[in-house]
Amino acid sequence: MLQFLAQATPPETNFWQQAPGTTGLILGVVGAFIIGMLLFFGLSTIPTQFRRYIIVGFTFLAGLVFVLQYLWPRPINADFEKELPRNAVEGFGAWLGVAIDPVAKTANILAAFLLGLGIFSLMRVHINKIRRRAQDWGFSLILIVSSVIMAIFGFWDWNMRQFNDPEALLTSQENWKFANYVNDALFDGMYQQMDAAMFSMIAFFILSAAYRAFRIRSVEATVMMASALILMLNLMGALTFMWSGWINGLVESTGNQFLTNFDLTVVAGWLRANMQIPAIRAIEFGVGLGALAMGLRLWLGLEKGGVSS
């Protein structure tokens, strides 16, 4: 049992971990797939009143591993690769330590499988537009064509690099073939740059939003504007430098050390450390509890609406 989900370092194998290409492994893969399909069809016959329990059961089991991992006593600084556990408690703790990884990755793998659902939805919307010759159907066509081209050249490029390039020649541009050029032009030349363009557009929006919102209308708007202005002034290194030169001059001429506290960097740092940090912390405390409570409700199947209705 304890070998389940655990790593067997090759050439060693165990029941759960078989060497690549062996009959044992292929039987396992096919067998597990068939079991999965049986589960699939078996579940589709389940009567309505039991469905909820099945969903809640799956959710609970998936979360249980992590809860146990946190609550199970684990010895400090033990290295169970080199040492044997002294007793069953340690043994189980050691198993949890290695089992956590494959279970955690399951979430990613399942989410990746579900991606097709999204792509299907996207394609459906646009293919329908083209079929109905709806307004702007030409743009839908552009979308579909560009996604297909990107996918083809993306896979082509990946395939060349992954399987047909043992010496990694393709890392330098001199050895590129047609597919690599197209992939690079589409991905690095277009896609990534459009990403950066869209992101940088926020700078324009920040200007118009600040212009509109930062007016002295209420106490709240005013204090927000004031603290934003102080922080923005502090971003200007040239200004902070001149300011601190002036403050230092004052300190020298008056001999009052307290004045150094009015250095712009000091004021901005103080504002951040004693206003921004605790304010964020207060929000995060609340949000953290919200997430914990929601997590508990989801894990135990207590959420009525949404997922486990």
């Binding site: 597990a32 690095d188 557009m201 206003m275 207060a282 914990l292």
Partner: protein, 239 residues
């Protein structure tokens, strides 16, 4: 024109295409928007296969054999065959479009949410425990002077104590704003709540102020890309 110049030119056109929405939503923008969405969809497919499904699932399931330059094959990792059960479970998600069996899509969803939920217990204290501790600041000064140039370890100076007190006040007053199920009555509590909102606003202003830099950095970099890398480097540079 070199390949680099072509690539940069494409990039600059795409940038202008998206920027045009700042003026108005036109067919020019729509054209680039749909290319962008298409490329993103195609790329997501490729990336999901090569970065998640292939490396985290396919290779883990079937194992990996390395062949060295002189043709000796060694097993790099074993095949973990049980992972193949994930394919049918993933398939259940697609039942969302079925009128009769749509409930089955909740099984993979439930597993993903279960895994997320299970981690929250540990995450909670690991994140907030140290933050609670670092909020437990001393407020009673040990000496009534300002912080000297060479502070003595263990001494708490008056100005630092005052700052600590302000920190704690900000934290608690802002936190009191998030009490939902208690009716705050009386001058002190409602006052605390109002102060809490003001403190939050000061904090938000500070976040706004410090984020501005990040946003401007991006637009500066984009302009540098257009003028320095494309115009100066690729077009006028004559490469």
């Amino acid at each position: 024109m070199s390949y680099l110049a072509i690539k940069l030119t494409l990039a600059v056109f795409a940038t202008f295409g998206l920027y045009s929405v700042l003026y108005r939503e036109t067919r020019f923008y729509r054209f680039f928007e749909h290319i962008y969405l298409g490329l993103a969809a195609g790329y997501t497919l490729v990336a999901t296969w090569k970065d998640t499904l292939y490396t985290e699932w396919w290779i883990k399931m079937l194992g990996k054999t390395d062949v060295s330059a002189d043709g000796v094959a060694t097993v790099a990792s074993n095949g973990f065959w049980i992972y193949s059960i994930l394919a049918p479970i993933g398939l259940m998600g697609y039942m969302v479009f079925s009128k009769k069996h749509n409930w089955m899509s909740k099984i993979p969803i439930g597993i993903i949410l279960g895994i997320w939920s299970g981690q929250q217990l540990e995450v909670w204290w690991n994140t907030y425990g140290p933050q609670i501790y670092s909020s437990a600041l001393p407020v009673i000064p040990t000496t009534w002077s300002f912080v000297p140039a060479q502070p003595v370890a263990g001494e708490l100076y008056a100005s630092q104590a005052l700052t600590n007190a302000i920190f704690i006040f900000t934290l608690i007053s802002a936190f009191s704003y998030f009490l939902f199920s208690f009716e705050l009555k009386g001058k002190f509590l409602t006052g605390l709540n109002t102060m809490g909102r003001w403190m939050l606003m000061i904090g938000f202003g500070a976040i706004f102020g410090s984020t501005v830099m990040a946003r401007f950095a991006l637009v500066i970099d984009r302009m540098s890309y257009i003028w320095n890398e494309w115009l100066q480097g690729a077009i006028l540079g004559g490469s």
